[in-house]
Structures are given as C-alpha cells and as structure tokens.
Symmetry: C3
Subunit: 511 residues, 3 copies
C-alpha cells in the first residue's frame, strides 16, 4: 500500500483536485496575489491533506502572499528583506515550501529524494540568508547563534550542565553521576541553546497516509534552539523566534517569545518585564497595538517597549526619524552582561565565548574573585557607544535625567550583587579549604549548589529587576535580596553542620 512508485501519479491527481480547488476556494483568492511555483503547488497538493495545519499557517504568512520581487519595491525603511539581489528563479513566485526546503542542496547532509523532488528537512539561517542576508549575518556573530557551542564546548559550563542533567544513581547510600543522555539535554539546556543536528543515514518510517517512506535519520531532532548546529554546517535557528510556517513578526515582537528561554529562575527577563510598569501597560493595551508595521513607530504602534523594541527592532519616531537601527545580534545594544558568570561583566567582544581565557586560565569572563578577562570584553568606548544607543530609545518617553538616574541605579545594583556573590564565594572557599566539600567538581554538592544559586538565580534576578525598574518583587522577595541574604546564612549554617559530621567521622586522635 502506498508504494513510492505510484505516488507521483497520485500526487498529480491530488494537485489537480485539491491544490487549486480547496485552497483558493477557501481563501477566496485573496491570499493568492502571489503565484506559486509548480514545485510548491505539488507540495501543497499532498500536504494540504497530510499536514493541513502547516499549509494553513503558511497561508497566513507574508511569504505566501507576496513575491520577493514585489517585496523589493517597498521603500527602504519598510523593506523586510535585506538582499540587494534575489536569484531569478525565486523572484516571481511566492516564498513557498519548495523555495525554502530546496535551497543550497549541496550543503545539506539532510537533502533527500521525496516524491520526485530533492528536499532539505531542516531550513537553516544560511537558507534564509538568500533574502535576509543582513539579519543572517548579524545573527551568525551573536552569542545566540553560538549558544550550543558556548555551553557544550566550554569545559566549565559543560561540567555544570552534566552535574545538573546527568542521571544519579544511589548505591549503598552513595550518589553517583552519569553523563546526561542526549534526549534529556534536548529537553533541558539544549531546548534553548540548540542541539547538534547531524545525519546518521537514512531510515524507514511508517506514515499513516503514505505507508513506508525513507527519510534522513537525524540526531537530536526535533529542536529549534537558538544556537542549533544544522546539517548544512550553519549555526542558529530562525524559527526559534519566527516559528513554524507563519514566520510571524508579531510573534517575534511579543515578549512571550523571548520569555520561552529568558525566564526565571536563571534569566528572569520576561518575568521582570511582565511585572514592570512597561509590562503592565503592554498587558492592558497590546490588543490595540500594531505588532506588524515596519518600521515600528514609538507612541503610534506601541506605547511601551517589548523586548524587541529595546534589543533589536528598527524603531522610528512618529515623524519618521530613525530612533534605532534593526539588529539581529541581540547583544549589540548592550554594554553590560547582566547574566552573571559568575559575576556581571562587560559584554564579550565575540559571540563565541569559548575563546575567553581569564587570569586563572579558565574560559570564564571573570575569575572566581571577580577579576574581568578584559581583553575578551568590550572596552569603555564601546560600552559608552552602546549605552548611548539604548538611552536613545528610553528617551523617546523619558527625560535625560530620568534615564541617567535609572542607569546609575543599575550600576550600583551590579556592584552590590557582585559583592553579594563574592561573599558567597568566600564561604564556598572555606568549605573547600576545610575539606567539607570537594572542589574537583565545583557544581555537585550542596554548599556548591547554594553558591550557584547565589549568582545564577538571585544576583541575576536582582539585576534584571533593576534594569527594568518596576518589578520590585524580583529584587526583593522572589529570588531577590531576600534570597541573597538568606542564602549566605544557609551556607554558613551548612558549613558548620557538615564540618561537625566530618569531624565525628574522622578517626579519633590520641590525646
């Protein structure tokens, strides 16, 4: 049943019967200003039956209703594509299934024969690069695109990852640790950081509608983490923020998208935003705002920022002045990295942070005592430049003084939270020095874990809350100063308690 040899004939029929009929009738022709390529018509012929949700999603997209040729006629600021030249074969058709899933086949390990066509399973940033080269280029240099590498190829972070997600067994009362399974990594850290997707070969799967079909056998799939390593050798995943087949700019501009990964307890950016006055106003009025206009106009399209406003969108004033240029390197407007590793520090120069080496020889942006690895971090001049870019956005609604005072407060917060981390580090050192816990793996015992919480959960929360004034609880009781202070007491008491157990187990010295 469903033999592959017969399918092309069946396909033709399906296309003839359904593609034009079902789809154009249902959509009343309004969507089809843009002509479909014959290959995309063939895709839709089957997939409008086999996976109708995908087709409907794509029908709601700009890709389905406008050709690249038309898109390029838009005034510069309104253009959503950054290519100055589009390959001829793509210009006159809607951006359909085949246009994206057939790009650069020579690079794609995951290219395979599917119903008479050569198809890539994974569409990568390098494929999107065809029409969106500026965005793809900026993204490739960002920490986001390097997120898999950052966490898996830095031995310190990799140890942290393994200590958290590795299976623990208990044998004779002793806890032993294994390396984490790929699936658990995929569900946890690599859910955001991205997996490494490779082709192991081909495998046969049984499809309800198709019978047995042969497809590339991919590792660590499905995954849409921001730093995914793709089977064409590229890094990153556009679908992390522009999901599935609507490629919606509205979704990407809503904080819920960023909030999938930037959330409590380690990076509570989303939670803090939601709790802040900006988030409060967003909640009350978002249904009246315009999340699709390009450029995006402050005061008209939106009244308070979402994540995208401050961090990456092209923003204009009501009179058309550009307030901030678009960037898809999401750290490009940031001077300081609030996220403590283990202290907050200036942004790294390169998105690939595995190249950093600090004074202790470790691949960390600061030492355990907070000495920065300055040559790998942006300098004062660059910090000031980026600070100016951000301030420019704030000042569309806030006075110079307000903005200055706000960021002066943030500077103080960074200083104080770094000191609170240092206090915890001193207590951890005491535990190590006294042999109460073992520093060979600094992440797997209880006092060590309290120390991790101090910087990863509590200091981070306080900093994000300070950076987006108006979420006092993340600075106070919810992973904030309450915890920063209580945690030091917990560390102190646990050192004393465990020291006593240790002593009682030591062989009694003769007196």
């Amino acid at each position: 049943m469903g033999s592959l040899k017969l399918l092309p004939v069946w396909l033709t029929l399906v296309v003839a019967l359904f593609a034009h009929g079902v789809i154009s009738a249902d959509e009343k022709g309004s969507k089809f200003e843009a002509k479909l390529s014959p290959q995309t018509e063939a895709c839709i012929g089957c997939h409008s039956q086999i996976s109708p949700g995908i087709v409907e999603d794509w029908l709601s997209s700009r890709h389905s209703s406008m050709t690249p040729a038309e898109a390029m006629k838009k005034p510069f600021l309104e253009r959503r594509i950054s290519a100055t030249e589009i390959p001829g074969v793509l210009r006159g058709y809607a951006v359909g299934c085949y246009e994206c899933h057939s790009r650069n086949p020579e690079k794609h390990q995951d290219n395979f024969e599917h119903m008479g066509y050569r198809i890539n399973v994974v569409v990568s940033p390098n494929d999107c690069n065809t029409c969106h080269p500026v965005e793809a280029g900026q993204y490739a240099g960002s920490k986001k695109a390097n997120a898999w590498k950052i966490i898996m190829k830095n031995p310190v972070y990799h140890t942290l990852v393994s200590s958290i997600t590795g299976m623990k067994k208990v044998e004779k009362g002793k806890i032993t640790m294994q390396e984490p399974s790929p699936q658990t990594l995929q569900d946890t850290c690599l859910g955001c950081h991205g997996t490494k997707v490779e082709v192991k070969g081909m495998k046969k799967i049984y499809s309800n509608s198709m019978g047995e079909v042969e497809v590339p056998d991919l590792t660590n799939w499905p995954n849409q983490g921001a730093g995914r390593e793709n089977p064409d050798g590229s890094i990153g995943s556009c679908t992390a923020c522009h999901p599935r087949h609507s490629f919606s700019i509205k979704i990407a501009r809503q904080p819920e998208t960023c909030g999938q990964c930037h959330l409590e307890p380690d990076v509570p950016a989303y939670n803090v935003f939601k709790e802040s006055k900006h988030g409060n106003i967003y909640d009350a009025y978002k249904s009246e705002w315009n999340f699709t206009n390009v450029p995006w106009t402050v005061g008209r399209d939106f009244k308070t920022p979402t994540c995208a406003v401050c961090h990456n969108s092209l923003i204009t004033a009501p009179d058309g002045t550009v307030v901030a240029e678009r960037t898809h390197d999401f750290g490009a407007r940031l001077w300081v990295r609030l996220f403590g590793l283990i202290y907050s520090h200036p942004q790294p120069k390169s998105g690939d942070t595995t190249i950093i080496k600090n004074k202790d020889g470790l691949p960390l942006p600061t030492t355990f005592l907070n000495e920065p690895a300055s040559e790998f971090l942006i300098d004062k001049t660059e910090q000031i430049k980026r600070y100016g870019t951000m301030k420019n956005i704030c000042q569309t609604c806030h006075s110079t003084r307000w903005t200055n005072d706000h960021f002066a407060k943030l500077d103080n917060t960074i200083k104080e939270t770094n000191e609170m981390t240092l206090s915890a580090t001193k207590l951890l050192s005491e535990a190590w020095d006294k042999g109460i816990e073992d520093k060979s793996n600094p992440f797997d015992e209880q006092i060590e874990k309290l120390w991790i919480k101090q910087w990863l959960f509590y200091a981070n929360s306080v900093r994000y809350a300070s950076a987006m004034t108006g979420a006092p609880d993340y600075a106070a009781f919810k992973n904030g100063w309450w915890e920063l202070s209580e945690n030091l007491q917990k560390m102190r008491d646990l050192i004393d308690l465990k020291e006593q157990v240790k002593k009682s187990r030591q062989p009694q010295k003769k007196k």
Copy 2:
C-alpha cells in the same frame, strides 16, 4: 418584613414590571429568539434585581438564545447536544433557570420550596445529562468525576492529604498533628478534587432583599471541584470547566481553565503549555482565533493546540475530515499517566483508582520500587491505540518522524525520571532503616517531604515539560533536573546530619 406569604404577589408584579421591560429593552430583543418558560420568567423577574450578574451571564449564553428543538436540527458534527430525544416540556423553551434547577427533583436532597416553586440548589451532571448524555456518561467514568473518592477513600492518599493540611500544634517543642478541618480541605485539595455536598437539614438565612428565607443547609458548599459528590447522588461538576451561567465553550477551551488545577508545582501542565512554543503562539494570536466553532477546525479556528484540542474536543481538518472525536473522559486519549504516584505508569483502566491493589497490597499503581500493578492498568494494545489517536492530532501540523522522535524522547524522560525517583526512595529507605525518621506515617517528616518533592514536584515537572516540548525551564531550573539532582544531595546531607543528632541523644554505651 419580607414575609414569604406575600412574596408570590410581589413576584407577579416584579415579573410584570421588570422581566419583559428591563431585559428585552436592554438586550434589544435580539437575544430572545428563544421563548422563556413561565417558570423561568418568574425566576428572572426577581433575580434580574437580586442577582443581576447571573442573569446577564445567562443572557450571554447559547442556552438563553436557542431551544433544544432548534439545537437538534443542526448537522450532526455541529450539534452541541448529544441526546436523541428531549423531554417534550423542555423542547420549545430556552434553557433557563427553571429548566436546569428543577430537574429530577426526586433525586435531589437539596430540592426545596422557593417562592412557590420546587428548586434544586445544585445542578448536577445527572441534570445536564438530559440534553448531554454522551458527555455526562463519558465524564462519569473518568478519573475527574472520581476525584473526591480517589483522594479521600484511598488511605495512602488520605494520609498524605492529612499530613499536609492538618493543623499542627507545638507543645513542649513537639509538633503534633490534627485531622484537617472541612473548610481547609475545601480550600486546598478539595478545591480541585471536589467536596461531598450533603443536606444537613434546612436553615434560615437573612437576605437583604428578601428578609428571612429558609434554604437547605449544605455541607462543604460552595464548591465546584471536578469530582464533587452531589446531593442527588451523582458525581462530578460540569461548572468546573463551563462556569456559572454562560456555560461558555470558549472558557472551557482556553488553557486558563485547565490551569486552575493543572499547575505547578505538582501538575505544571498549564505552566509548561504557556512556556512552550504552542503557548507562545496562543498568546500572540488567541484574540484572532475562534474558540466557539463546533466542530473545531485545525489551522482555521486555531493554529496551535490548547489543552482541549489534544485532550477532548471534536477536531476536524479544513476539508471536514474528523481528526479526533469528542470525549469528556479526559484520560481517554492518554496511554501513559505522567503524574507520578509515585512513578509514572500506564493509565489506569478505571476512573475509580481506589480499586487498585499493588504487589505490596497497597492501593497504588506501582510499588515503592516501581513494580506496576499491571492488571489495573491498560495493556500494550490499548496504549498503542491511544497513542495513535494523539499522534493523529499532532500530525495535522507535524511530520510522522517529528512526532515519533518527540514521543521517543518522552519515553526516555519517563524512564529517567522514574530512576531519579527510585534513587530518592533508596535514600528514604536508609533513613527509615536507620531509625532517623519514622515510616509509620511516610509523609510527615523532613526527609520524607524531600522524597515527596522528588516525585510529586520535580519528576512530574520534567515529564510535563518533555511531553509538551518547548518549555526547557520546567525540565531544567524550575522544579526540573536542577531540583531532582540537588534534592538527592539534600537528602544525603540531612540523613547524615540527623543521624548524628540521633546518636548524640542515645545513651552512651559503656566501653
């Protein structure tokens, strides 16, 4: 003041003056295609003054604007009532106050004389059964309808409930525990599981508008828990999801409804959904979706699933094909029970899980060492069948391979989280064996409570996050693998620490 004897006269006046006047004028008649029964007119006569919010809510409902006779004329897939026959007296009137609050008076202990009519206080699933028998029947067999019984009549779970919600006193430094009060149970566990509502007699209450009136004296009321035991002997509460007097299908289909009970830390299904890509897209576009169409069409009415899509709604493809049949047994499409008690296991055969007996003779679906009570759980064939139903829904938007790989990942998660629970169980056994804590009540001391968290909070969170890929934080830092691992260290340290206290208190042996 407000004597009952005079009220009927007053009622007549009120009906004459207000019912037609106020309501039809305000609603511009548009709502009143459906004729009201004389009894319902009488109800509204007073209640549009006394409890106008209820009347307005009902006016916004389908019940107020369509008679059962009209509803039965709809094409089969569009019908919202499943009865093939409706009692004659109900057919031609809107489904109003009296139609629901007067059903099956002979069964209702809570039936009473109210302003000249016999009224039931509580409308039960058995009353809704009049027009919705298929739904009522499915629900009655579900775990939800049995939720009160499950938690109160299973001695193991009942001990857990009491250990949590019972009042604790401190006398001479010792903590003693009492049985929980009915009110606290009503606010906590039974808020979701439902209370047992019985009639103790009649009582007089003073109403501002009516003066003194006599009403049935109900126990554990008000309550709308999913497994409420009703004064007509039926179990369940439709209003848990179709609340109050709008009986809104929109509310029932929105994840916030399910999220009232299925939320962190024990069942973070809602939290995981909100954080997932599905939830992200839902947040961005829900205001543009249609939450009331029957049947409910993937890609047209909604673009990503809510809880109801996967677990119970009648779903069709854009071409009208049925993707999934409606069910009100919410476990009917599930093969595995993610919720660990204390391990994840195949779904139970019966919604009444009090009948289960495992190898240790306990009413639990697995033993403490994870041996399943297989004869009470669905077998492999049934598991595969249900898996197929669910996969069919996924595949309206995802490929066969994607779906297979997703659920293979979930299988691994179940295995690993069960093992992490087993590791905790081994540590607890050590504590019990050494006499550090007392197993007579396995839920009331600190190491025991850490053990409960391992399965009830952390293993559950990881499983829900894995089942709805895209909420990496619930698998990682937020009650996920971070806690699963840290918790074992906490148990290890606490055993060692408490062991030392125990030893120091033992009378010194002579050497």
Copy 3:
C-alpha cells in the same frame, strides 16, 4: 552648542512648524476638540520631538480631548472629576503638560525655570487634587499613601527591611551586615512603598537634543511607589496606578496593575486572582469587556470582578442602582487585614500604622503571641459595616447563602493560619531561649527567616487563596499548607542540628 539663550527663539519656530502641523495632521483633528493652552502648545512644540512617546501617550488620554468645563457637565454618576469648582484659568483648556506641571509652584521644592516657564518635575496628588479632591482626600488617609512612612519609620519593619536588603560581607567566615543603599531600597521595598523625593539643589545634565541644561537634583528618583513622599510635602503617587501620560482608567482597573506590588510570595493577591475562576473568566473574556465606562456596570461592562471592582470602583447594577460607591482608600471596604504582621487582624483605624502600640510596647498590630492592639484597630461594628459593603458586591452574582458560607470559610482560615504562625513562634522562642539564635535582631538568622516565611509567605498565601476561593494551589502546594507544615519540620530539625553544633563548641565542663 544648544545654548540656552538661543532656545526660546528655536522653541517658537518648533511650535509654529510642528505643534499644529505634525500633531493635528496625524491625529486628523479628532483629538483636538479641546483647545490647548498657549503654554501647553509650547511644551508640545519641543517635546513632540524630544520625547514623542509622552506626547502620543497624552494624546490617547481623556485629558487631551476634554476640558474640565465639559467634564463637569456630565451627569453625576458619569463624572470622573469630583471638584465642584475648577480654577478659571484651567476650565477652558485641555488638561495638558503645563496645566499639571505648573500647579502650586509655591509648595514645590522641585519648581524650576525651564525654557521660560516655571515647571514642577513631579506632579503630586496635591496637584491632581485640583480636579479630583475627593479621590485625593481618600487616598491621603489610606495605608497606601502612608506606605513609605509605614515601612521606614516603624523601627520593627525598618529592621526587617535592613536585614533583607543590606549588603552582607564575609570576613574570616563571619557575615556582617551594612545598612541598605538608597538605590537598593529604591529597587526593592520602596519600589512599591515609594521613596522620599527631595531637592538637593540644581545640577547640570547633558541632553542630546538640548545640550547642557540645569534641573533640580532629586533624591531617590525616578520612583512611582504608592506612598512616595513628594517634594511639595504631599504623600502618594497617582501614577502608580494611572501611569504616565494616558492616566488610563482601563489600566487602573486591570488586575495586572495591582499585581505589580500585590504578588507572591508575600502578598499573592494577583496570583490568586489569576488562578481563581474569576481570573479564569477574566482571561477568556477581558478583550470583550468595557474597562472605561463610568459608572461600571456589573454583568454588562464586566462579568467577573477585577481587583478594582471589589476594592474601589463605583459599581452599578444594570438598572442603574449603585452597588458600591467609589473609594480611593483601598482598605475602606475591608474589615480584616489578611496580610499578617505577624498575625492577620482587623483593619487598622488609621492609614498611618506607625502610631500603633501593642501590649509589648511594640508598634505592631498584634503581639508575638497574637494579642491584638485593639484600640488601634476597627471595632466589631465597623467590621460588620464593611463586611456588608463587600457582600453587597458579591451578591450581584452570588446568593446570600453562598456568600455567607464563603466568608465563614475565610474566618476559619484566618483562625487556622494564625495558629500555624503561633506554632512557628513557639519554635522560634525555643531557639532564642536555648541561645541557638540571637533575638537582638529577630530577622537575620536562619531559624528566624524560616519563621518569617511562615507568616509572610505561607500564612498570607493561604489566606489570600481562601478569600478569593478557587485558587486551591496557593492554599495547598504553592506557598500554602504544604509549606506551612514542612516549615515547622524544618524549624524543628534546624533547632536540633544547630543546638548540637552549639554544644560541641562550648568549652567542656569538668565532670
């Protein structure tokens, strides 16, 4: 560059070129029924360029489109201003920049010369008092307006604040504490409670658009906490709930606004609402409700309450009857204070709670053993009166019996949670009596912090959950009864463990 002397000329040009042109063109004149004062026109001339977001926000407000004279012509119940007389100069113009930022200059320490006009930086409740005297008066007497004083001038609470937010250093293993910095207070407690804003002098700042300008140098600014002390001597901040320049009643009526400060873990009112059935229905239907109508009609404008419905808005029934009068003293409808300090107690008589003195001579509404400072708390008669006001609102949708039973349940919850706090207090006393922790500061050690959590996080959560039935998780597993019970075990074990460390450190007595 940007010399101040040249600016007035430039200003005139900007006004001529932009104010009328840009703004009225873009807004199609529809906003400008209300005439602008010449001063406000001048403001807008520059600020539509310099801070366009503010101007756009104001353009969306009622202030920009209606003069006070017009507003006063509205029927009484529809009026949003409560003044019976408006100063002549204000009557005929829109309520613009200058109208608010120039009021009562003689009282404003922060009044300064700005581009030829005398401007106040901060607009205070005393300025809003011009048109809204009833609201300003009610607010001034509330706990909210006194929030800075309550927390900073009560030595007990001030010690708690300092213990949480003060920097801790570790020297030779010992944790030492400093007083918190003003900036950290501003980010934490005073983010909600408000800061004390004073003028230190003038300072020069560099503005991108203006060059160097001189402005008042304010302490603890920016801040919009509810109890801010203003540079005109008044207390409170209207913008805490009616933010920025839209002064939106819609924002103030949405629970997200209240939720900025009233949220978990200490005051989870917002979280409980969101999780309750009321919040569930709000989520499903809020986009269809009317959040701007005055008066606000139950069943028509909204179907379930938000915070504002129960606590302060003017509510009417569909027939126009007043259900509840408007109040801006947010405690005025409350008989009991759920928020435990350290026990739940009747509402205080005065919004300034620093005047309270209990039997132990402490400025707390109860003693540590729960004896109320009754003479400072409202009496039974007043409690019953307020209870009646609240019940009246509930009964627009719920029966008398339902409402009675609901609040009887709350009474029981208050009793039980107070007892659970008392149990924790007894354990703390034991720790103090045994010298395990030091009571001189009752808030800085680990057992003390567990005790604080008992009342501040857990007892509070259970009470809020009970008060808004339908959020069983905040009563059970999420900072609820689970924690109330586990926390006592933690305190018990920690006392035993620390006692042992203490003993081992004491010099051995000779036998």
